[in-house]
Amino acid sequence: MSINTKIVDDLVANDISFITTVPCKQLAGVIDEIDARPDVLHVPSNKEDEGMGLCAGAWMGGKRPAIIMQNTAIGVTINTLATLIQYYRMPLPMLISYRGELREPVACQVEMAVHTKALLAQMNIPTYHFHKQSDADELDAILKYTFMCNKPVAILTDANFWGGYGDQ
């Protein structure tokens, strides 16, 4: 089974039926897989804070949401995480491509990579880092944990996890 299928199987098995995305090259496969699933409403957003607003509404409407985005979006969403998702106590799994780690070809990505974990820690956001494909064995438990505690939870997925960038 491909890693994209495994990830989306876990999302669906945890009753996640509303997903918003802003793409990253590394997330292309998982986004394709979401589009192939009739049980999931995929609503692409134009900016990740907008996407978190959609997720907040969807959750209040009875659907379990998730957001899929790049780690650079942590810089876009701090205010929304603090004043909407955390302040109103809402669950939000965030599947995040962790750009700027080992094997990164684009130097600028490193500039947000060095802040990513520090920002998440400062926000008291539970954070998991998938480095090897077997790390995704914990995804199911992480999703259950997210909806148990009603918090935003970050799942950072680095280049090694996705198998590198291929030819650049």
Partner: protein, 184 residues
């Protein structure tokens, strides 16, 4: 007419509807005029009233009205293409366009100058966009509720604020009673 005059006039229409209310004075005014468990008050997060309401409309069948402001729509313009391209016919976006950042002291916005929010919404692909004078807001809102089409209403009014207390209700209480109303 200023924003609070519009809200006073439409409060009876809004009473039984799910309403997501914009940050700052709009929420405080709605809370003072006619507090309802069906009102979701935003206490922060400028810009996301339309997004929260739209996510809610996509997730369930009841009508949802987002009350937004011109400044907040300007800060989250990305919302309009998302709304246009994922039509939810149980969704109404009411933009109270007073041409200013009212809650922070009526600094002018570009919507009060050359920029037409109705034209922007249409350019983004929204199909049912109506711009009305403040006094016609209630009629336009009632028509949108009675109709079965997603509607964007831009209500043009004057800048100006009344004195209102802040909302001291806990956010989790606001959210919990709102979710109970959504499920009812």
């Amino acid at each position: 007419m200023i924003r609070s005059d519009i809200l006073k006039e439409i409060a009876p229409i809004l009473r039984d509807q799910l309403v997501v209310c914009n940050i700052g004075l709009p929420s405080q005014e709605m809370h003072m005029i006619d507090d309802q468990p069906t009102n979701f008050y935003m206490l922060g997060t400028m810009g996301l009233s339309s997004s929260i309401g739209f996510g809610l409309a996509l997730a369930q069948d009841k009508k949802v009205i987002s009350i937004d402001g011109d400044g907040s729509v300007l800060t989250n313009f990305g919302t309009l293409p998302t709304i246009a391209n994922n039509v939810a016919n149980n969704y109404i976006l009411l933009i109270i366009d007073n041409g200013s950042y009212g809650s922070t002291g009526d600094q002018p916005t570009y919507a009060g100058k050359k920029t037409s929010l109705a034209a922007v919404a249409r350019a983004c692909g929204c199909e049912n966009v109506v711009e009305v004078a403040a006094k016609d807001t209630g009629k336009a809102l009632q028509e949108a509720i009675d109709g079965d089409q997603m509607t964007i209403i831009v209500a043009k009014c004057e800048s100006g604020n009344i004195k209102v207390p802040v909302i001291t209700m806990d956010p989790v209480v606001i959210r919990d009673r709102f979710m109970t109303s959504v499920q009812a």
